[in-house]
Amino acid sequence: MLAANRPQLVRFFAGRTGSVAEAEDVVQEIWLHIGRPTDGPVAGPIANPLAYLHRIGMNIVLDRVRANGRRVRRDAGYVEATISIAGAEAVDDAPSAFDAVASRERIGHLAAALAGPPEGAMRVFRRHKIDGLSHAEVAAEFAISRSAVEKHIAVALRHLRKALDD
């Protein structure tokens, strides 16, 4: 499954990481990940293998972004330098433990932004991200289309980013 899609994945992750060499590494890690049966539960059946491979790779890249400290937000906080691909490999390199204690102030800022404007978009975002409903469940609850849910979530993310940068 991976071999046939390899060129496509390398091209995508070259765009995602900015480097073909890193993209090769990421694709290698995707292969390691799906080859390991003890990994965490997969949410639902894999209806679309290519999308699934992309999603795994996206998580791997995000972990690398964190690990490399290429962070936009500089203040110490919740997700600082976390490496979570496979706890087993990451634990040795993680910095001191109690640095990871959640920053209450940061969480206060996040909660305030989530309760702020624009109200409709934030309500949709909270139901999805805080209460854990899927896009389809949020769409049903608010009687809107899934595409409208995506648009609300995008608007909310954009405002959250701005609110927290200020």
Partner: protein
């Protein structure tokens, strides 16, 4: 606030990110957009990191939100606060399931509703009988039955707050065991067949679901039972009732817990096997760990206990540092 923001990388990044779980996500188009300009990548990083941060902190954020929601609903019609009270009590799908039960009658009781959480999220569900279920990170349950719910915990942990009603019993199946309850608060963990039950209020009875002739075990408030069927061990311990399902606010608290127990919890959150070597099996831990995304738990433990890590065949072994 303007909508003509297609050239704003943050807005475009947010739009792409909101679609990454969509079945018709245009991955090639997303790749082209990312590759078009280095600023696109940076914008996407900042959006994805923020989204992941909110996901990881969701329980802590949720704890701060209800007050804010009250403030925000000042100016709107009365129907909305009601809606939010419902929302706070559980998820729309659980309500929908309850509604379907009322409309269609008992036939829907055969349909299982499945709930799953990712490694960073917890989730609150109101069951059709009005009981509340909270799912821990990385957990999966299926719920059947309406007024007499049958809940199968396939993996992970869940806590239950059950309304007292003598006419029906809620059953939670975890691994090879059934936990029966008539009105109480308790939590169940199933980590690959190793089952733990902890009771905060009331009592539950625990029995293998294939009856083996043994009498059911009754657990009362302030007790915890850890069962390891493969080792043939069932151990009952006293706990602080307040510590039951402490994972729901992002923490794990222990009071003199044997290291193997703590390691089992960490292994569940980190999604990686963790083996306690005999040299360390006698260690006990008291304290509070912050769950986060699970990857830092072991590190927090190592900061206070004399532990050394050894890796063999992809499995992390914990052994006692120093000494012999």
């Amino acid at each position: 606030m303007m909508d003509a923001t297609t050239q704003d990388p943050i807005a475009a990044a947010a739009a792409w990110h909101a679609r990454i779980d969509a079945s018709d996500m245009d991955w090639a188009g997303f790749g082209d957009w990312l590759a078009a300009d280095p600023s696109h990548r940076a914008a996407y990083d900042s959006i994805a990191l923020l989204d992941a941060e909110i996901g990881a902190a969701a329980p802590a954020i949720a704890a701060l939100l209800p007050a804010n929601d009250d403030d925000a609903t000042d100016a709107v019609p009365v129907s909305r606060p009601n809606r939010w009270r419902w929302a706070a009590a559980g998820t729309g799908s659980a309500l929908a399931a309850g509604l379907a039960f009322l409309l269609v009658g008992p036939t829907v009781t055969d349909t299982a509703q499945t709930y799953a959480t990712s490694a960073g999220d917890t989730r609150a569900v109101t069951l059709a009988d009005g009981s509340a279920m909270q799912l821990d990170r990385g957990s999966r349950v299926s719920v059947t039955g309406g007024k007499t719910p049958f809940i199968e915990l396939a993996d992970g942990a869940a806590s239950f707050s059950v309304r007292h009603d003598p006419s029906r019993i809620l059953i939670v199946r975890a691994g090879a065991y059934d936990i029966r309850d008539v009105g109480t608060r308790f939590a169940v963990t199933n980590a690959r067949g190793k089952v733990s039950i902890a009771v905060a209020e009331g009592s539950v009875s625990v029995a293998p679901h294939d009856p083996d002739g043994s009498a059911p075990t009754t657990l009362v408030a302030g007790q915890r039972l850890d069962i390891d069927p493969s080792a043939g061990i069932a151990e009952r311990r006293s706990i602080a009732p307040a510590s039951v399902a402490d994972w729901s606010d992002g923490r794990l608290s222990y009071d003199g817990a044997p290291l193997p127990l703590v390691a089992a919890d960490i292994s569940r959150y980190a999604g990686a096997p963790l083996v306690v070597d005999p040299s360390a099996a006698g260690l006990h831990f008291s304290g509070v760990l912050t769950i986060g995304d699970g990857s830092r738990l072991l590190d927090q433990l190592r900061a206070v206990l004399p532990l050394r890590l050894r890796r063999a065949d992809g499995v992390v072994h914990l052994e006692r540092a120093g000494g012999r």
